[in-house]
Subunit: 410 residues, 2 copies
């Protein structure tokens, strides 16, 4: 597939300080994978690490491995490794449950910390689970309600009735990135807390929760963290809030001393309070491999490459696919690490691309998404993907019944 | 270790209809594993199955495997495989989250279905996370409270103010088994719902939720189901209740059509409603291997062997360790699949046994637990374990400082 790649693009790859990371992923031949924003690629080391956890730690060590292989400390250990990726300190992040369950915990804890305020403010069009979880809480706790406003209306909607602002840092559909520091400041001036959902930004986009004065965050482990399908998620609670906020799901791993088997729940005084049930050991160990890989990459190079891959793709689409609307911002500071294009036949177009080995995805009604994971993608692949898209459009390859059949998961 | 095993014990193993299952587990040499009630042993097939899921399904299939390898259907598929183990029908069980999180969902859903009743009734000394989760809900939802009474007081405490009775079928510490059908009948007569925590019984003890007219249940995947450390848990909701009960954690996988990305939460009309976030695929696939193994075993033989292993152990303890109090019932119908012995020096005694390769565990203040997983244990191992315990006691091998040092996880 290397033919036809311009020298300027080849040069970008040659000078890429991250180019050695590609070999640490087990990507299939013949595939250009632009869906790492949905499910990250498999690190080479994950297979051997999980084989070791299964055969040696579980199979041979059995119950003893909770101590001998520190399974009991894994949720905190991996949390501490995630912390520097998001500008948090050690002890402010723990790996637990799913993003949805963590959102549930933090929304309730945040609303309880602002008892006179009755609004959960979010963005209409936020990732569905964020809105769904908030809707469920509003149905559960009388008086609380969800107010979802358009992106442009968020600023003005942060009023004195708002207990907590819930925003996804990078929008799953448009790729729009919120100004975390500015919105956090505005919310604090009005007396509200903010929860940032980092699912679509962690591992690809600069995040500095500390500098932004952020309160709370959640995020998923299976996108740019490359933790595997359904990887456990994480919770961030700023240290200054840890004593005041209480998780509503008071499972035994959130207890101050789980193995005392005491009768009465006594929450841990630190971030461990946001654990609930027994953590998924296999999931944690797979996630740790992905996080270790990211931690080994120079961070500024990672974020710079994410911006450059997206810019190159937009530039190529602008010049070669003039019929496509680029939904994502052209300003690298205002976007995440995926680019969304609008086309009324987006679904079959994405399927036709997948049939050629260029994997992106589709979000109804008309958005094609292409994610650019800086750790394992090359500039040459971006060029080839844009060329494939141009070809699919020019030859109407997508206009075929086999590409219109909807799969269960899109 | 085979010397000295009586012919009568050898004969039990020779006639054991489950004897071929032992080879399907990767147990370490030199170990007699009597802690399968805490963490089940590793099935041989788990390593190759997970290697396949990782390398082929995740690594090569990438995002496509949600459809191509039916990741999206796995939570329901494994739930349907669990159903016959507990007397449930297909469509009544789904695998999701942890036991603690599932208890949280069901307790809130059950209390909401009995709005004029304000009591969650449970057993003092129930497994801590069950009590902790109920305590957290009582703190969250004004008016609700937890009433925890002694085992003998449960029957009389089921009054007209009780919304939901929460009991663990087999007690984690004593091994006592509740009469599920009898208590369920009593609760229904009084108008309450019942949640059964099956964590310490599923896979070793006969459970017939259907025959008992049971309402709701949860259970863990990492004990007798052999799903691995922190395996996902399951939820059972009787079909007749599925339309009326609502999970409070309304994550996107509980939506009627998750991949429509609709704005408003619309719960699935079936058991899928009790899913929340993206399920743990690695955890599900490991659990499925364990469940498949159990499903392949003749169930009556499984339960009969569990009773017989426990009876043999109690008999041997009675005759060779007269100083030990057998806490667990001598009536096989009134106990689960582990036997608890009381000794004030239980902790160092258990550590001394572990040092000899006989792995049980300890629960404060004075309980030694020995679990008998019928799928992979032999009668000869029960004999050897009892002999090792007799020896540790007779020679006071446990009376050594190295056995007194408390580990983080006991």
């Amino acid at each position: 597939m290397g033919a036809g790649i311009p020298a300027s693009v080849r040069e970008l790859d040659e000078k890429d300080p991250l180019r050695e990371f590609r070999a640490r992923f087990a990507l299939p031949p013949g595939v250009i994978y632009l869906d790492g924003n949905s499910l990250g690629a498999l690190p080479v080391r994950t297979a051997s690490r999980l084989a070791e956890v299964i055969a040696k730690e579980w199979g041979q060590g059995l119950i003893r491995s909770w101590n001998d292989h520190d399974w009991v400390g894994a949720a905190r250990r991996v949390g501490d490794k995630i912390a520097p990726l998001i500008g948090a300190d050690a002890g402010e992040v723990v790996v637990a449950d799913s993003t949805s369950v963590n959102l549930f915990k933090l929304l309730i804890a945040a609303a309880a910390a602002r008892p006179r305020r009755k609004i959960i403010l979010s963005e209409a069009g936020n990732f569905p689970t964020d809105l769904y979880v908030a809707q469920g809480i509003a149905a559960l706790l009388p008086g609380l309600s969800l107010r979802a406003v358009g992106t442009d209306g968020i600023w003005d909607a942060i009023g004195e009735d708002v207990a907590v602002v819930l925003l996804t840092h990078v929008h799953y559909k448009t790729g729009h990135k919120h100004d975390m520091a500015r919105i956090t400041r505005r919310a604090h001036e009005s007396g509200a807390l903010v929860i940032w959902d980092l699912s679509h930004s962690i591992g690809a986009v600069e995040i500095d929760l500390g500098a932004a004065g952020a309160d709370l965050a959640v995020g998923c482990g299976y996108k740019y963290l490359n933790g595997g399908p359904g990887a456990p998620a994480f919770v961030y609670v700023a240290r200054r809030l840890q004593k005041d906020l209480q998780s509503p799901i008071t499972g035994w791993f959130g207890h101050a001393a789980p193995f005392d088997f005491a009768k009465t729940y006594q929450p841990a005084s630190d971030i461990s309070q946001f654990l609930s049930g027994t953590p998924s050991v296999l999931g944690l160990m797979a996630l740790e491999v992905g996080v270790d890989l990211l931690a080994a990459a120079p961070r500024e190079a990672l974020f710079q490459k994410s911006r450059a891959l997206c810019s190159l793709f937009i530039e190529l689409i602008d010049s070669s696919c003039p019929g496509l609307e680029v939904v994502t911002s052209r300003d690298p500071k205002a976007r995440g690490s995926h680019v969304s294009l609008r086309h009324k036949d987006g679904y079959p177009i994405v399927q036709a691309l997948i049939a050629q080995g260029v994997i992106g995805d589709f979000r109804a009604p008309d958005i094609m998404r292409f994610g650019f994971a800086p750790l394992y993608l090359s500039y040459a692949e971006v060029f080839q993907a844009a060329a494939a898209l141009r070809d699919v459009l020019a030859t109407r390859k997508w206009d075929d019944d086999r590409f219109r059949k909807r799969a269960r998961v899109t």
